[in-house]
Symmetry: C2
Subunit: 208 residues, 2 copies
Amino acid sequence: MKVVIIDDDKLVSMSLKTILESATGITVEAVGNDGTEALGLYEKHRPDVLLMDIRMEHMTGVEAARKVIAEYPDAKILFLTTFSDDEYIIEALEIGVRGYILKQDFEGLIPALEAVQQGQTVFGGKIVGKLPGLLQESLSFDYEAKGITQKEYDIIQLVAQGLSNKEIAAKTFLSEGTIRNYLSTVLEKLDLRDRTQLAVFYYQNGGR
Amino acid sequence: MKVVIIDDDKLVSMSLKTILESATGITVEAVGNDGTEALGLYEKHRPDVLLMDIRMEHMTGVEAARKVIAEYPDAKILFLTTFSDDEYIIEALEIGVRGYILKQDFEGLIPALEAVQQGQTVFGGKIVGKLPGLLQESLSFDYEAKGITQKEYDIIQLVAQGLSNKEIAAKTFLSEGTIRNYLSTVLEKLDLRDRTQLAVFYYQNGGR
DNA sequence: TAAAAGATATGACAAATGTCACTTACATTC
DNA sequence: GAATGTAAGTGACATTTGTCATATCTTTTA
């Protein structure tokens, strides 16, 4: 199996190289230390698996992977992650990356590579458990950025549960007229027409 | 690595046994041919990985896995699937199963087992690509079962896009009054009060 | 063929909704 | 202390919405 490694931490990439070459049947064809090298090295060596850090300086692993897959849709890319890389995971999944494995997990590395070579997708450790939550977050809308206050947001949530103004008033101990006023400004801020559009907006932007 | 195999097709389980035992470091501790045997064999042998068919006669692999994991939350279960087992996949994911691999994929089997033993999760072939779609379907509501007709459902979808009755009428070439009537019966059938609750219902039951 | 069922439509009505102009009360700031 | 800002409220108004009774026309069924 031919592997190309890309990681901007030379200590990591060298350790990986050592580990991999001690295994039979694996050749490390090249080691790059920047996402910008990914496409070039992939083209030159056509490795079975491209093992790449997801968080790097000049170009993130995700961007690099996107370029490689654009040219070679069947490229098998395995990301190295730490626990703090949540933000990239969904994006990477959409691109069609073949897996994520924790940097710390030396024992798991070789079986993971082999599984990926066989066309499978591998998720290290507890990453799978995080997926449902991440999928939602990735869609979530930044109401604060549109100038929606906390109280307004509370009302949005109640509308998005299908409550009438009267019911919302009862729940919040405000008058029905006040609810109407709040709702009116919310609709304007979000450029919507009525409460139904608000509920639709809510659910199409990550609400549940 | 100790493995227990469960598959109600003896031809399959025996082939698997042969393949696995030809590999160094793998012992097949037991072979069961029914989901009901899963928990017993797991308790007796405590394998590193439980390799189980997902579709079986008396008890599905999913049910069997649920029982095993209830007793042994860290149990590593790898499912054998065919392309037609979509319906079980989401359910199995929720239980905390460690992967799915296609029965046909003999080469991938051993690396997959090793990756699972190392604590990773493995998805064979194109299963990952199906996940987003399946996640949605798993939530989807059976409008037909509530007596919703096709035309009514069309209107539900338009309401769930935030359109007014007038707009829906224009789109469907029906009169606004007719739309109101349709909507009225839809609300009754689903036991809802107004269009906003309908939109909420739609999105909370698998719509997008 | 007659009756039943289905699709579409109308008009009337009450309730809910969204907008607007304006007020009151309280706290913060200058 | 006056000015400003914010939170909450009121009343009026036009629209939209949901319900209901009823009508017309077509298709299916008995």
